[in-house]
């Protein structure tokens, strides 16, 4: 098992290099580079300012040299500085990453709290009214675009009751209540939207597993229904569900971009979107690298959980 983990960790390295090259190059391919944006700040300019700014920002070197400089520094934990604000990228990540992480975690908790019970319930009561109602609720939450649900929640309570979730960010450690009252609404919307996918996977796998031979055997052995569900069915049914949670990590960040915008959550999604629109290369590459590492680690954990949940894979 240990060798397996080490091997997987080592395998991360080529993946990271591959990813970083693609990101590094692609963000620079977008038309409208940062120099154009900086120049368009001013209403007068001539061609020769371009060279000066490029040099000042170190963008005049060939792209592969820029890459080596960047990766060389990145290995030492320096992701460069924002081209616009000159703040170190690591500092900005340190500020925004925990916020998005908190939002994602809250959303995941919401999603699982809703999804797994509904999934199990509807599998055990297949084709009853209860199955239809619970499942419909979950699927409806999936079917409503999050930006639309977010807008409705933002607008209508304020029109009817003059109430809206607070929009001023307070760090969790400064005031947990103020922090949560800001974060909880977007987290619920994000979580509900994600819950359907987990719910149906739980349900599908529960149905599948419950019909398999060893469950039949367990039943035949006279084990109580709940015990069968808990011990055998759930454990085996959860394998693909765990995969799915891994899959949802980038979805959480993607979905967070939209909700962070509506609910003014100063997280990484907002930072990333702003940086992409402003062509702030070091921030975009930095965010990618960090998100990439995080997601790779989550996937690694998923693979390990596989082994834990499924004895057949574990023995391999």
């Amino acid at each position: 098992m240990q060798a397996f983990i080490v091997r997987r960790l080592l395998a991360l390295i080529p993946t990271l290099i591959f990813t970083s090259i693609i990101v590094f190059a692609s963000i620079r391919l977008i038309p409208g580079d940062v120099i154009d944006l900086m120049l368009s700040q001013n209403d007068i300019s001539t061609g020769n300012d371009r060279a000066m700014i490029e040099e000042a920002l170190g963008l005049n070197e060939p792209i592969y040299i820029q890459y080596f400089q960047w990766i060389g520094a990145a290995v030492q934990g320096d992701l460069g500085r924002s081209l616009w604000q000159n703040t170190p990228v690591t500092e900005q990540l340190k500020e925004t990453l925990p916020i998005t992480f908190e939002l994602g975690l809250l959303a995941l908790i919401v999603a699982l709290t809703v999804a797994i019970p509904i999934g199990i319930y509807s599998a055990m009561h297949q084709d009853t009214a209860g199955d239809y109602i619970t499942r419909s609720f979950s699927l409806l939450m999936l079917a409503i675009p999050s930006f639309w649900l977010g807008t409705l929640v933002m607008v209508f309570p304020s029109v009817w009751w003059r109430w809206a979730p607070p929009l001023e960010y307070t760090p969790f450690l400064e005031d947990p209540i103020a922090n949560l009252s800001h974060m909880i609404v977007p987290a619920i919307i994000l979580g509900l939207g994600l819950s359907a996918v987990t719910m149906r996977m739980t349900r599908t796998m529960m149905l599948e597993v419950m019909r398999q031979d060893y469950i039949r055997t367990a039943r035949a052995k006279g084990l109580g229904e709940n015990l069968v569900v808990m011990r055998h069915a759930l454990r085996n049914g959860l394998i693909p569900v765990v995969t799915l949670i891994g899959l949802q990590a980038p979805l959480l960040i993607g979905g967070a971009v939209i909700l962070e915008q509506i609910f003014v959550v100063p997280g990484m999604g907002l930072l990333l979107l702003e940086a992409v629109f402003q062509r702030d290369y070091p921030i975009v590459t930095g965010v990618f690298l960090v998100v990439g590492v995080a997601i790779l680690i989550i996937n690694l954990l998923v693979d390990l959980t596989y082994g834990f949940l499924d004895p057949k894979v574990r023995q391999q």
Partner: protein, 298 residues
Amino acid sequence: MSDITIPAPAQAPLIGGGRFAFTRRLIREKPLGAAGGAIFMLFLFCGVFADVLAPYGVNETDMFHRLEAPSLSFLMGTDHIGRDVFSRILYGAQLSMIVGFLAAGLATVVSIVLGIVSGYVGGKTDMLIQRFVDAWMTFPDLVLLIVVISIVGPGMTQIIVILGLLYGIAGSRIIRGQVVSVRENMYTHAAQSMGARTIYILWKHILPNVMPVVIILFTTRVGAVILAEAGLSFLGLGVPPPTPTWGAMLSGTGRTYMYLGPWLALAPGLCLTIVVYAINIYGDALRDLLDPRMRGSR
């Protein structure tokens, strides 16, 4: 569920008859799923015949009938520049279906090929493919979309291809997980030991076993693609106007004129929600019926 019983044919049904039998079974055992399917077919029908059904031109503006509430002459009202919302919804259905089907189809093919190859062949190939999938999945899809769309320009083809690849590669993980699980099952071992050809094993044992997952993936994807297009529209990267996609109608004028003309948001919002919901319910019902271990039982 249903009281209506139809006498079963004496002999094994022909393919056509089998299809009808399947539909009957769907209606009898899964009324909700059948309803979902029917709704979906209705939208599909509207999409296909949008040109015939639409009472007005899709971009026909009439500034003297702007922001009018639904009425007999404008079934879903008019928008801020006097276009008939009902006509635009019909064309929107067409676009959603095209984008949804093509992207989900592409995604499914990619998922199956990658998932089965990786999961069944295993070893080095599996390792390589999984590393590639890992790398791919570290791209938050939004940024990938922004990057690609900024380079090639916004448009339907781009969205179809990008979403197809994105979901396809990500989804291959699920198929692979399933394949690994099936491969370890005893009966495959048995077939292998009997010296069966790989293709035969894939076709006869693996594919039927991953089929439920494939169907779920496909139906989920159709809905997800329609939703993703809407999300892109919200961020200003969707199919360019004046093309009437539901996402653009909802996130653009729908949100702006939320108070002055609530129907502008209601119409595309409800259509989006209903279609995505119907597709999902239908997909779940199909899954229940197509499950190989359920075949013959009940």
